[in-house]
Symmetry: C2
DNA sequence: CGTTCAATTGATCAGCGTCAAACTAGGTGG
DNA sequence: CCACCTAGTTTGACGCTGATCAATTGAACG
């Protein structure tokens, strides 16, 4: 790894506060790799040799069973993935592939576990990260179990809206096929859900979203921070 | 808290390996409480004042939205709950109530956070715990998104079967209404799913389960450790 | 300009939820 | 100890949500 890349990693939230000594151990034998869109990074069931950190691009985590698969989440930089597998030295529960051209840092899992043994600060940083991931998955489960597909879409759009700075117009950053899978529906159904939301001030053509009546959409979607707010 | 109770807590996996000093901090101001069945312990959205540890009985975590609720998981001793909320000092994402008469230890959340700051070993223990919880939720999401309700039931029964020591006869330890909610279906649908599994060697009357053809059930259920194995 | 794949649309169907009613079991009080 | 009451469970009929299949349109890219 080049020195400039190492510095970049060093400055990430996860590693900023750790000692130089710990960081040395961590970074030894690490890679920075670039992948084109659609590259398989890991496959569920494999052993976790490396902790992955997405620096640039985007990566989707997905899982399969009995012939079909579902997108679990799509990550944007900066994000770790397979942290839990690394911590527990257990097989991956999800597969990962790049959605767009991406840069990923690979830290040997054993390095992570070595540093954990001797650096309580690092343990706490990862503990915070892990707890946040846990809460994200819980929110996702609530979303899946408590809402219909149209309601899920409505709330998803509101989240995008908010993340885009409350502008009424913004872009979908995932393709609809993937979006459908993420939200637990088929592409066809997503199309129909979009139509259904016209009645609540939603216009979508291509990846362009235009919310003509945010208040109406909110009335319909009934968002709650206990499901829809990322940092809560 | 009585000394005998304190010793009991001390001997739990989570606390066994920590220093006396750290444990002192942790246990100060802690409670051991008993609750009858059906007691509300916490409500989603509230702030996490106490880390809960289920010592005896059973507790269900559930969540609601827009008038309906769903059971997220049912805990058996010994289990922590609301660990993530405690760690992040954030509001509960789930509510909790006792399903049967239960004993629960309540550790002030601030104690937990204090000890984390100074005891790296404890951080690592909680990190392991947290990572395991995370993986459990991921498995649950895969179960929900990738399987039909009958398939979920089939795999659930196989898990019970295995946990009961591979005997062909065992008891359901949750009532069917709750079980249905946990698996993301209605009680009516669960009844029909049970019927559907007769063709695969499943007989259920009341809470008594009899698997007459485990091999057939496994052929149908197609279980995988990446969803169905607890410690994986 | 054609190829390819995503997105949409329509028709159909299966899974699952809803509603209502009958049945059962467990617990309570007489 | 029994009768009753309440709540869980089951069954049937029905309807809605969402999946599937097939065909078309649309858009991106070489």
């Amino acid at each position: 790894m080049r020195q400039s890349d190492i510095s970049k990693v060093r400055s990430l939230d996860l590693f900023r506060d750790m000692s130089d000594e710990s960081f040395e151990i961590l970074i030894h034998g690490a890679f920075l790799m670039s992948f084109p869109a659609g590259s398989d990074l890991i496959t569920e069931g494999e052993n976790s040799d490396f902790l992955h950190i997405l620096i640039e691009g985007s990566v989707e985590l997905f899982a399969g069973w009995s012939g079909h698969e579902t997108v679990m989440v799509t990550l944007q930089p900066v994000a770790t993935f397979i942290l839990a597998a690394t911590i527990r030295d257990a097989p991956y529960l999800m597969s990962a592939r790049t959605v767009s051209k991406s840069s990923v840092v690979l830290l040997p899992s054993s390095n992570v576990r070595d540093v954990l043994k001797q650096d309580g600060t690092f343990s706490n940083v990862l503990l915070q990260e892990m707890a946040q991931c846990y809460r994200a998955v819980i929110k996702n489960t609530k979303n899946l179990k408590l809402r219909s597909s149209v309601e899920r879409l409505a709330n998803y759009l509101l989240r995008c809206h908010r993340r885009a700075g409350n502008t009424p117009e913004f872009d979908l950053l995932v393709e609809k096929k993937k979006l459908a899978s993420t939200m637990g529906m088929t592409p066809e159904n997503l199309s129909r859900a979009i139509k259904a939301l016209k009645a609540h001030g939603v216009e979508i053509s291509g990846s362009k979203v235009h919310l003509t009546d945010v208040a109406a959409l909110e009335r319909f979607a009934d968002p709650t921070p206990l499901i829809d707010q990322a940092d809560y």
